[in-house]
C-alpha cells in the first residue's frame, strides 16, 4: 500500500500538470506553466526515490543522468526549424518507455499468475500499453525520418499495405486476448513487435503536409499509453497525467486538422484510397515572370500596404532576421506591413510564430489567417517568402489535390504577388501552384537570405 503522504504528493504533482496545461494555452502564462509542469514532475520523481525501497538505485540514477544529459543537449542544440522532429522523437521514446515498463511488469505478473489470479482488466491494460506504446514509438520514428527528410516526404504506399496493416493489427488484438486468458511474456513481446510494424505502416502513407497532425495524434496515443501503464502499476499520478495528455492531445489534434480543413480519417488513410498521391514532384518548366531584387524593391517601396506570407523556406534559409530588417525599412518609408501567418505555416501549427519570435518580430505584426484574410484584396503587394502550399488556390478549386479543402491565405486576391523561392520545385505537399503562373505574379529566384539582404539595400537607396 502506498503511504498517504505519497498519494498526496502525487495529487500535488497532478494539479501541477493541470495548471501547466492551463498556463500553456495563454501567451502570458505559457512559460510559467511549463516550469510548473517541470516542478510537478520533479516532485513526483523525488517522492518515488524517498518513499520506495528501491533496489539498483545507483544504476537508476545513472540512467536518469544519461537521459537528462541527452535531453538537455538535444533540446539546446536543435535549430528551431528542426524542432518538430525533436518533439516527435521525444514523444516516441516516451511511448517506447511505457511499452517497456509494461513488458517488465508483465514478466512479474506472469510469474505470480500461477499462484494468485491476476485481474483480467490489468492484463488487458498491459496489452494496450505494449501495443499502443510501440505504435507510438515506431510511428514517431517514421515521422522523425520524414521531417528530417531521411525518408521521402511523399506518401509511401506499397501493394498489400492495407492488408498488412489490418492483418498485423488483428493478430495483435488476438494475441492480446490470449494474453488476458493465459498471462505469459511471449505474447507481450509479439504484441510489441506487431505494434512497431503497425506504427510504421500507419505513418508511411501520410503525406508530408499532414505530418504535424500525426505528431499530435501520436502524442495523444503516448498519453493514453502512460495512463494505461499507470493503471497496471496502480499509480494514480500516471493515470491522471496520461489521461490529461491523451484527452488534450486528441482535442488539439482535431483543432489542427480543422485548421487544415482535413478530417483525421482522411489524413491517415487518404493515401490508401489513392486520393492523396496526386501531384507532380518534378519542377515545372512552364514560363513564369521573374525579376531581380531591384524591381521588387521598387514594388515594395512604393506600395501602401504590403503583406508578408512567410513559410518554412524562410526559416531554412535563416532569412527571418533579414526579413525583419526589410519590414523595418519599409515601415520607415511609411509602408504598412504585416505578416499573414497561416495556422500551419512551417512544419507544425504555430511553428512560424516561434520562428519569427526568434527573429524578434513584434507580436502585434503577426496576424492570424482569420484576422487578415479579408485584407488581401486591399493589399498592393504580397511577398511570399519560402511558402507555397498555404497560398495555393488548388486548395479551393482542385478536387482530389492533397491540400483540397485546406483554408488558404487569399494571396491571389491582392494586386500583385511576389514569390521568393529557391527554384520552381513544388511545396511540401508535392503539387504545382497555379498562382505562380498568373500575370500579376513575379518570381524572385535565389537564396532567400541573400535576396532579402539585396532587397533591404535596394529599398534603402530608393
Amino acid at each position: 500500500m502506498i503511504p498517504t503522504w505519497v498519494q498526496l504528493a502525487y495529487l500535488v504533482a497532478a494539479v501541477c500538470f493541470i495548471v501547466a496545461l492551463k498556463g500553456l494555452s495563454s501567451p502570458r502564462t505559457a512559460r510559467q506553466g511549463n516550469v510548473i509542469g517541470a516542478v510537478g514532475a520533479l516532485l513526483a520523481v523525488v517522492v518515488v526515490f524517498w518513499e520506495t525501497d528501491l533496489d539498483h538505485v545507483v544504476a537508476i540514477l545513472a540512467a536518469i543522468a544519461v537521459g537528462a544529459v541527452g535531453g538537455v543537449v538535444g533540446a539546446q542544440r536543435v535549430q528551431m526549424t528542426q524542432m518538430p522532429q525533436l518533439v516527435a522523437l521525444f514523444n516516441g521514446v516516451g511511448g517506447g518507455a511505457a511499452a517497456l515498463v509494461a513488458l517488465v511488469e508483465l514478466d512479474e505478473l506472469s510469474q505470480i499468475a500461477s499462484v494468485a489470479d491476476v485481474a483480467e482488466f490489468d492484463l488487458a491494460a498491459t496489452a494496450f500499453t505494449v501495443l499502443v506504446g510501440s505504435v507510438s514509438f515506431a510511428g514517431s520514428l517514421v515521422t522523425f525520418g520524414k521531417l528530417q527528410e531521411l525518408l521521402p516526404t511523399k506518401p509511401i504506399v506499397f501493394p498489400g499495405l492495407p492488408v498488412a496493416f489490418g492483418g498485423s493489427f488483428l493478430v495483435a488484438l488476438g494475441l492480446s486476448v490470449l494474453l488476458v486468458l493465459d498471462p505469459a511474456l511471449w505474447p507481450g513481446i509479439a504484441i510489441g513487435a506487431l505494434g512497431l510494424a503497425v506504427g510504421a505502416m500507419l505513418v508511411l502513407p501520410v503525406g508530408g503536409a499532414d505530418v504535424p497532425i500525426v505528431i499530435s495524434l501520436l502524442n495523444a496515443f503516448t498519453g493514453l499509453t502512460v495512463a494505461a501503464g499507470g493503471y497496471v502499476l496502480g499509480n494514480t499520478l500516471l493515470v491522471v497525467a496520461g489521461t490529461l495528455v491523451g484527452a488534450s492531445g486528441t482535442f488539439l489534434t482535431r483543432l489542427m486538422a480543422a485548421a487544415m480543413g482535413r478530417s483525421l480519417m482522411n489524413t491517415l488513410f487518404g493515401a490508401l484510397k489513392g486520393g492523396s498521391t496526386l501531384g507532380a514532384t518534378e519542377a515545372s518548366d512552364r514560363p513564369v515572370r521573374s525579376s531581380g531584387p531591384e524591381d521588387v524593391a521598387i514594388k515594395l517601396g512604393y506600395a501602401q500596404r504590403v503583406l508578408i506570407v512567410p513559410g518554412y523556406g524562410l526559416a531554412v534559409a535563416q532569412a527571418q532576421h533579414a526579413l525583419r530588417e526589410l519590414v523595418d525599412v519599409l515601415g520607415e518609408r511609411g509602408v504598412q506591413v504585416d505578416y499573414a501567418i497561416h495556422p500551419v505555416a512551417g512544419r507544425m501549427p504555430g511553428h512560424m510564430n516561434v520562428l519569427l519570435a526568434e527573429a524578434q518580430v513584434p507580436y502585434e505584426q503577426l496576424k492570424e489567417m482569420d484576422e487578415i484574410n479579408d485584407q488581401f484584396k486591399d493589399t498592393d503587394v504580397v511577398l511570399v517568402v519560402g511558402a507555397n502550399d498555404v497560398v495555393n488556390p488548388a486548395a479551393r478549386t482542385t478536387e482530389g489535390a492533397p491540400i483540397y479543402g485546406m483554408p488558404i491565405l487569399n494571396a491571389d486576391r491582392a494586386e500583385e504577388v511576389v514569390f521568393m523561392k529557391r527554384s520552381m520545385g513544388p511545396g511540401f505537399a508535392g503539387i504545382e501552384n497555379e498562382l505562380m503562373f498568373v500575370d500579376s505574379t513575379t518570381m524572385l529566384f535565389g537564396d532567400a537570405k541573400e535576396n532579402m539582404s539585396k532587397l533591404v539595400n535596394a529599398v534603402k537607396t530608393l
Partner: protein, 112 residues
C-alpha cells in the same frame, strides 16, 4: 465503492479536465502546447523507476534501465525544448542582440 469504479472516475474526470484546460488555446501556441503536453507524459519515468527498482531478474533490470533513459529523455528534453520555444515569445524588444544558440547566428553578417 468498487475499486475499478474509482479508477474509471479518475479517468473520466481527467478526460474532461484535459479538454477543458486547453479549449481556448490560440493557434499561435499549438506547437508549444503540444510540446509541453509531450513533456508531461514523460512522467512515465516514475513507472520506469518503480518497475526497475523492484525487479530481480537481470534482463528485466536492463530493459527497465533502458525505459528509465528513454523516459528521462522525454521528460527533461520535453520541458527544456518547450522552454526554449517560449523564451522566443518573451523577448520582444531588439535590445538583446540576435545571438542565436549554436550555428544559427554565424551567417548573420548583413545587419546594419
Amino acid at each position: 465503492m468498487d475499486e475499478s469504479i474509482v479508477w474509471l472516475t479518475i479517468f473520466v474526470l481527467s478526460v474532461f479536465v484535459g479538454v477543458e484546460v486547453i479549449s481556448k488555446v490560440s493557434a499561435t501556441l499549438h506547437t508549444p502546447l503540444m510540446s509541453g503536453a509531450n513533456a508531461i507524459h514523460g512522467v512515465i519515468l516514475v513507472g520506469a523507476m518503480l518497475v526497475t527498482g523492484t525487479t530481480e531478474s537481470t534482463i528485466a533490470l536492463i530493459v527497465g534501465l533502458v525505459a528509465v533513459v528513454l523516459a528521462t529523455l522525454n521528460l527533461v528534453g520535453g520541458f527544456v525544448v518547450t522552454d526554449r520555444m517560449l523564451q522566443m515569445f518573451g523577448r520582444r524588444k531588439p535590445s538583446a542582440p540576435a545571438a542565436d544558440q549554436g550555428s544559427a547566428g554565424a551567417g548573420k553578417g548583413a545587419s546594419a
